[in-house]
Symmetry: C2
Subunit: 336 residues, 2 copies
Amino acid sequence: MAITLHDVARLAGVSIKTVSNVINDYPHIRPATRTKVESAISELGYQPNLSARSLRSGRSGVISLLIPDLRNAYFAELADAVMRAAQAKGLSVIIEQMPGGKKEELEILRGPRMQLVDGILYSVLALGEEDAHELDSRMPMVLLGDRIFHGPKDHVTMQNTAGAKAATEHLLSLGRRRIAALGSHPGEVVGSAGLRLEGYRQALDEAGVAYDPSLVIPAINWHRKDGAAAMRRFLEQGVPFDGLVAFNDSMALGAMRVMQEAGLRIPDDVSVIGFDDIDETRYSIPSLSTIDPSKDEIAETAVDLLLERIDNPESDAPARDLATEFRVVQRESSAR
Amino acid sequence: MAITLHDVARLAGVSIKTVSNVINDYPHIRPATRTKVESAISELGYQPNLSARSLRSGRSGVISLLIPDLRNAYFAELADAVMRAAQAKGLSVIIEQMPGGKKEELEILRGPRMQLVDGILYSVLALGEEDAHELDSRMPMVLLGDRIFHGPKDHVTMQNTAGAKAATEHLLSLGRRRIAALGSHPGEVVGSAGLRLEGYRQALDEAGVAYDPSLVIPAINWHRKDGAAAMRRFLEQGVPFDGLVAFNDSMALGAMRVMQEAGLRIPDDVSVIGFDDIDETRYSIPSLSTIDPSKDEIAETAVDLLLERIDNPESDAPARDLATEFRVVQRESSAR
DNA sequence: CTTGTCATTTACAACGTTGTAAAGTAAACG
DNA sequence: CGTTTACTTTACAACGTTGTAAATGACAAG
């Protein structure tokens, strides 16, 4: 039904291989031939069949982005950034959501759909260091997020510990001394939660402020409602506090809402800072201070690394760990 | 490199076609043969090559979702709903963003990537009724959004006019009489903006409230910042008002922020209602009343329609226009 | 024991593309 | 003018799968 190389070749009066050569920028083609072919292509509106190309060449021009959940603004914005970066390199992106835990993640990773793509950007949620060996070693892959380190794959992340430290220092610099941390995963060391908690502790240590476990508020999922629920529980305990470092913006927004319902004024009574710099933080009431992880940089770096792996499938260059820069963004929630 | 039908066939001691038959649930296969083949498949960890399957059968199991912008919470949530619906039917989704206007939309629609997919869900932004003929007639496609009606393709949308009417009626029922409308596109009739404005007018008419053009606030893009900017301009004009129907939630949130900065109390001074029921509306301060367009229903309906078109490529059943139910969600921004 | 029927399995071609290697052509050299 | 050299184009096979049609097997009826 659709136009194929054969149709173009017939119209241009050359072989299909010559048409293919024109399309793939093979250098030795007579200018007259090239012109003929090109005008035949545009006359017929030829579009290469990507399935055939992919079957023959092993390259589809599609990469997968595996993320937990698009409803989470951070991942939506990250996905946006990845798609822009990919588009700039001529790649399409298949997004797969995996909100279902370890079993589902492995299923998707091993499923037939991964055959279709040239490489995978995998924002690890459930898998841990101990599952690293489950990752297909032949598939080009770049890991995002912070669950697997020094694994078998390239890895791009923000500086979690340094970022959380800077966030905490920011509140300390405002004179806050009873700073709560929202979003811990008890017992976790390597994930974002563990690393950010570590940064929080480092900042307290260096400032000579004692670490008080009762100020650490656990929250497993990091959505608005989880932040709200956790803050509700925390307020019931009546632990006095004057600052809040939330491990992401969504939780911070949920928590701010609950705090204000409870009559706490932000930033007068409690200074708040989040993590991720999602767009919403600019318009919340009050606007939310945050750590900007430069999602664009993460996305571009990850796509570049992935493309490098795709282009050199034989290379056994060791896996690289890259950490991007971050920036403290002060808004009303931590105004002086 | 990867396992193919040949490998499975060799191990099971049958022909590749028999393996193919087993995989595709061909009925006439001896149970013993089926067992042999199945155990060979799982022993080798065979995964079908989707490129080859797609090349041969013309089906890839992938659909495209064309949306303006993932940073817009509505589209992120819609994309999420579409992906869930698609996953339930065994389909993958390629998301393409097209923030660039008509030219870019047509480029993407006609680009080679559309060859890879079985069908397209197209959330029309820039194209209008007059461009309907540009849509490839052979490609299964379902239109979302409200720019093209009675076009050549199936169409799923919410009841824009009825929804806006209900929103306006809701504010009227609270005794509001000077209700502003935020997000109009001057001159537009068919898009969401035009239809929602129409609903707003109908509600006023029926309530016997005069339509006052100075209460209609234009905003071309519908992001938070556009709502904020438009409201800032509107406040400068000093037009008195006591209610606000925003044509989407993001604008409403941006506008609420500006109103509160200006000292207006919500809902005491101004009752506000938005459109879309994005998650954020539950946690904003105040929480935002809105029209819930049932994104899940839109997504499921659209995927079902698309799948029907994909399965019956020859059918020339006429294009259908479906409108989903909506629901008025009252929250604090329009509390009594 | 032959024939017919149905179940089961197979060989082969085809989908549209690109890699390989070879064929053809023109220009340059001795 | 024959030969080398470089450029340009081509035929053919292959990627892994499924559709078509034909071959084989099994079994009941005549």
